[in-house]
C-alpha cells in the first residue's frame, strides 16, 4: 500500500511533548526489548533508533488498547489481538502513567468524542450550537450520531 512516506517522516520531526527513550519490545514471539526513541505526534507513535533521524516505524494509535502491565511498563495492543502487544518499559511509574494517558488522549476518536460532548453541553447550557459560528455544524464528522453509515455517498458526481 502506498503512503506519503516523506511527509510522514517530516511529521515525525515535529516538536512533541511526549518523546523519550524507552525500552520497546515488538509483539512477535522472540522479539526482545530494545532501546528506542519513542515519540508521540498527533495520533501516531513513531520510534527511532536512538541516534537516527528517520524513524524505523510508525504506529497509528486508533482502535488500540493501552494497558498498564506493571508499575513501569505499558502495552499497546492492536487489531483486537490481545496477546499481540507492543511493550514499553519506562523509567518510572509516573512516566508510565503519563505515556498511557497521552496515548489515549491522542487518538482522533477520543478527541472527536470530546468534541461532541462539549458541543452538546454548550448547546444545553447556552441554547447555541458552538459550531455554527465556524460554519461547520453540518459536517458529518462532528455529528452526534456520526457512527451511522447512512452517509451521502458521492457516486453521482462521476
Amino acid at each position: 500500500m502506498r503512503f506519503n512516506e516523506k511527509e510522514l517522516v517530516c511529521l515525525s520531526r515535529q516538536p512533541s511533548e511526549m518523546a523519550a527513550e524507552l525500552g520497546m519490545r515488538g509483539p512477535k514471539k522472540g522479539d526482545v526489548v530494545k532501546r528506542r526513541l519513542v515519540k508521540l505526534v498527533v495520533n501516531f507513535l513513531f520510534y527511532f533508533r536512538t541516534d537516527e533521524e528517520e524513524p524505523i516505524g510508525a504506529l497509528l494509535l486508533e482502535q488500540c488498547r493501552v494497558e498498564r502491565e506493571d508499575s513501569q511498563t505499558f502495552s499497546i495492543a492492536f487489531l483486537d489481538e490481545a496477546e499481540r502487544k507492543y511493550l514499553f518499559e519506562c523509567d518510572s511509574e509516573e512516566q508510565c502513567k503519563e505515556w498511557i494517558d497521552s496515548i489515549i488522549k491522542a487518538s482522533y476518536e477520543f478527541m472527536r468524542k470530546n468534541l461532541i460532548f462539549y458541543r452538546m453541553e454548550i448547546h444545553r447550557l447556552t441554547g447555541k450550537d458552538p459550531l455554527e459560528q465556524y460554519g461547520i455544524s453540518d459536517e458529518t464528522r462532528f455529528q452526534v450520531n456520526s457512527g451511522s453509515h447512512f452517509m451521502a455517498r458521492d457516486t453521482s458526481s462521476l
Binding site: 503512503f3 510522514l8 501516531f44 482502535q63 498511557i100 478527541m111 468524542k113 453541553e121 465556524y134 458521492d154
Partner: protein
Amino acid sequence: MKLHEKILTHFLSCTSPVDKEGYLYKKKERNATYHRRWFVLKANLLFYQERPADRHLLGVIVLEGCTVQMLDSDGFFPFALQFGSGLKTYRFAAGDAQTQGRWVKALFLASHCYLSNLVRDLGRQYEEAKQQQDSTNSCSSFKSLSSPTNSLLVPALLPLSLVREGRSFSASDALPPPSMPTKMAAKKSPKKWPRRNAHVTPLNGPAPLYGEWPLVGSDPLVEFSKLHDFYGQEVQKAREEWLRSRQTEREQREKALIDLG
C-alpha cells in the same frame, strides 16, 4: 520507514465513523493522467482504492501538515493537497463544483491539528458556560463574565462561491494558537468562588492534558457521562452550600428579632 499497514486497514474497516467517501479523479504523478479512484476519508487519513468493494487498498494519505487548494479550471473541478516545500502535491479532480467544494471542505477539517484546536476552544467555551450557569444559580451580584471570547477559530471557510480563485487553506493558518485567558479569573472576587478541588479542571485553561481529567483510562463513552456527572456533582455541592448559608442567615435574622408577643 515502516508504516504498519495492518493497523491502518483495520482502522479503515472498523466501526468508527467514515467522514466522507466517493469517487474522485487522482492525478498520477509520472504520466500526468487522471485515474478514477474510490476515496474514503476517516479521521486524518485518506484511503483510496479502485472500487468501493475492493479489498486491496491502493494507498493512504496522512493528512497532517498540508494545505488544501481549490483550483479553478473551466469544465473541470480540480483541487490539490499541498505538503511543504520539497514534499508532494497530490492533485485531484471532482466531477462537479459541488463535489469539489465538499471535498475541499472535508479535507480541510480532517487534520488532527484542526480537531485538537477546535476541542480546546470548545472546552474553554464549555467552562465559561458552566461558570455563567453557576453564577446565575448562586445569584451572585458580581458582573457576569466579559463578553464572549473572540472566537479563536476564525471562520476558516468562506462561502464556497467566494473561494474559487486558487485559494489555499491550511488548518494552521485558520487557527491562531489559543491564548490562555488567565485575565478572566482576576475579575471575580475570590470570596465568591466555590472552593476549588485540586482535581477539578482549571476553569480558564485549555482542555486539560495529562493528569487533569478526573477519569483516565476508562472507556471514552462511559467517561463522558461520568465527566458530566462529576461536574454536575460540583454544581450541586455549590448549590447546596449556598442554600445552607442562606438558611443560616435566615435563622440568625429571626433570632435577632425582638419578641413582642
